[in-house]
């Protein structure tokens, strides 16, 4: 973990309000793990004071670059989306633990479940799992067809199921409906998406095999300020920091 001025080398608008940015960055030398995130200084203090945490979508070690995908939510992501190729941003990373790829063995089955803007961090995860020789299955959930993105990219890698809440693409309903229908055996489930999706997965999946990526408002992003803390079942005062011990936790590890 350190900071690096990183140069935007590519920028794409995937769908309305969802932007993909690739950055040439020395941070790539530090070995970024899938599921880790970076903390981005958007610019002028005053407009945005704090950094913005965004997950890593893809890593290109050879080209010394990595890619992020984000949705324009508020001021920070809007300003980031307005930056152009050639501009520099200061990035702190890589941060957090990432998905536990070290636990996965060749031939094991890993289901990657993503909802909406939680989908991007699963892409590098899937690529590396495939390289490890795992069977990877993607289940991606969107609100509606026009909200969907990255489906092709995931499909090219591994078997991909899609659900939309309104049924306009793939199976109608939620990712959990897909899971119930295909009723697969699995060794691990890695998931990233909105809180209700994570909760729903906890209810139907084997919690000893389920790893969930959490979000929390952050200040430092490195574990020093205690902004992003979750309680654990261990005691009233035991905690995990989403930015340090997380963002990925075993189901039930934090409450």
């Amino acid at each position: 973990m350190r900071t690096a001025n990183s140069t935007i080398i590519e920028k794409d608008i995937l769908i309305d309000n969802v932007v993909k940015i690739s950055l040439k960055s020395d941070l790539v030398d530090l070995k970024i793990r899938p599921g880790q995130f970076v903390n981005i200084l958007i610019g002028a203090t005053g407009e945005t004071t704090l950094r913005r945490p965004i997950s890593v979508y893809e890593i290109d070690s050879e080209n010394k670059s990595f890619t992020i995908i984000f949705r324009v939510e508020g001021k920070g992501t809007r300003l980031l989306s307005e930056k152009t190729v050639g501009e520099e941003v200061n990035i702190l990373g890589p941060l957090g633990n990432g998905f536990p790829l070290d636990k996965v063995q060749k031939g094991q089955t890993v289901i990657l479940v993503g909802g909406g803007i939680g989908i991007p961090p699963l892409y590098e995860t899937s690529k590396q799992l495939k390289k490890l020789g795992a069977n990877v299955i993607h289940i991606l959930g969107f609100n509606t067809a026009s909200d969907s993105f990255l489906i092709e990219n995931f499909s090219e890698l591994n078997k991909t199921y899609v659900s939309t809440v309104d049924g306009s693409f793939g199976q109608k309903g939620f990712v959990t409906d897909v899971i119930k229908r295909i009723n697969l055996d699995y060794d691990y489930v890695f998931a990233c998406g909105p809180k209700p999706m994570l909760k729903a997965l906890e209810n139907i999946m084997d919690n000893s095999k389920l790893y969930l990526s959490y979000e929390e408002r952050m200040a430092c992003g490195i574990g020093a300020c205690f902004a992003c803390v979750c309680k654990t079942k261990k005691s009233e005062t035991d905690y995990k920091r989403v930015c340090k011990e997380g963002p990925v936790f075993l189901a039930g590890e934090v409450i």
């Binding site: 200084l41 005053g46 702190l92 200040a219 574990g223 300020c225 205690f226 005062t237």
Partner: protein, 304 residues
């Protein structure tokens, strides 16, 4: 050139990370050598472990942020056994931030922390705005603040600095009372009480409702208070509130601070403290100063 000596603290430079913005140093220790720092103000310690407030605990504001961590810490015992133990790997002086919910708790935490060979001074936090009882309640009334200071001074083995709240009508009066009660120094300012609402949920963004405002937004308030207080007390002041650059440091010294603490800026640039330490000599020179001492109180002392 950067050397400053104040009670209990021989600082090789006047730059100190502020309490609560630097944990117990471990994370920043991964980024740079903590021995570069003038001193370290560690996170507030209470008698027992505390989880603190629910999340969200932080919210962004114009040129600042709100926090309502709620004094999360592993409790006195673990701070001594684990955190101060880790910090023994460094020679930088440690200033331990003491919090509590009763006079007795403050006294007990202060006593035990001050006995640690790793602690050079105490910072008595009577200004935390983020807990329902204790904290700020001790810092907004001159008599209460003075009486607590006196009791802590009695048990402390090291010099005691008292951290002032800016959320008061007359900060000079409180500072004078604390000086009379025997404090060795003051640290100021803690955060201003603030709030932000989420238009979508129609509720405060912070789970705690209110939070403490920090960052560049509050710098003018900090400068004004230090300017006023430093002319009325003889004990040294460690100044803080919105410091981001060497220029800001010089402004605080000119206002009357003897050293400074950097809080929120650590979140924006984790290397901000060593960066300031590196740049400070040339900035001092640029404005015609030969030493830190020459700066201190320069805005109101004669001969400038």
């Amino acid at each position: 050139m950067l050397q400053v000596n104040i009670p209990g603290l021989n600082l090789k430079n006047p730059i100190i990370p502020a309490s609560g913005c630097f944990g117990f140093g471990r994370e920043f220790g991964e980024l740079y050598d903590l021995n570069l720092l003038g001193a370290i103000m560690i996170k507030a310690t209470t008698l027992e472990a505390r989880f603190g407030n629910y999340t969200p605990r932080v919210a962004e504001t114009a040129s600042g942020m709100l926090n309502a961590i709620g004094l999360q810490n592993p409790g006195l015992k673990k701070v001594i056994e684990e955190e101060l133990e880790y910090l023994s790997n460094f020679t930088t002086p440690i200033i331990a931030n003491v919090a509590g919910f009763s006079v007795e708790e403050y006294v007990e935490v202060a006593k035990v922390l001050s006995e640690s060979p790793r602690v050079s001074a105490l910072e008595l936090n009577i200004s935390c705005p983020n807990v329902k009882h204790g904290g700020i309640a001790f810092g907004t009334d001159a008599r209460t603040a003075a009486s607590l200071t006196e009791k802590v001074k009695k048990v402390s083995q090291v010099p005691v600095y008292v951290k002032l709240s800016p959320n008061v009508t007359n900060i000079v009066e409180i500072a004078e009372a604390i000086e009379s009660a025997g404090a060795d120094g003051l640290t100021m300012i803690n955060t201003l009480l603030g709030m932000r609402l989420d238009l979508r949920t129609r509720r405060p963004i912070l789970a705690n409702g209110t939070g403490g405002l920090s960052g560049p937004a509050i710098k003018p308030v900090a400068i004004r208070m230090i300017y006023d207080v430093s002319q009325k007390v003889k004990i040294p002041i460690i100044g803080m509130g919105g410091i981001q650059s060497s220029e800001d440091v010089v402004e605080f010294l000119l206002a009357g601070a003897s050293a400074v603490a950097v809080g929120t800026a650590n979140f924006i640039d984790p290397y901000v403290c060593p960066k300031i330490i590196e740049e400070l000599p040339s900035v001092l020179t640029k404005y015609g100063f030969k030493s830190i001492d020459e700066c201190i109180g320069g805005s109101w002392k004669h001969g400038f």
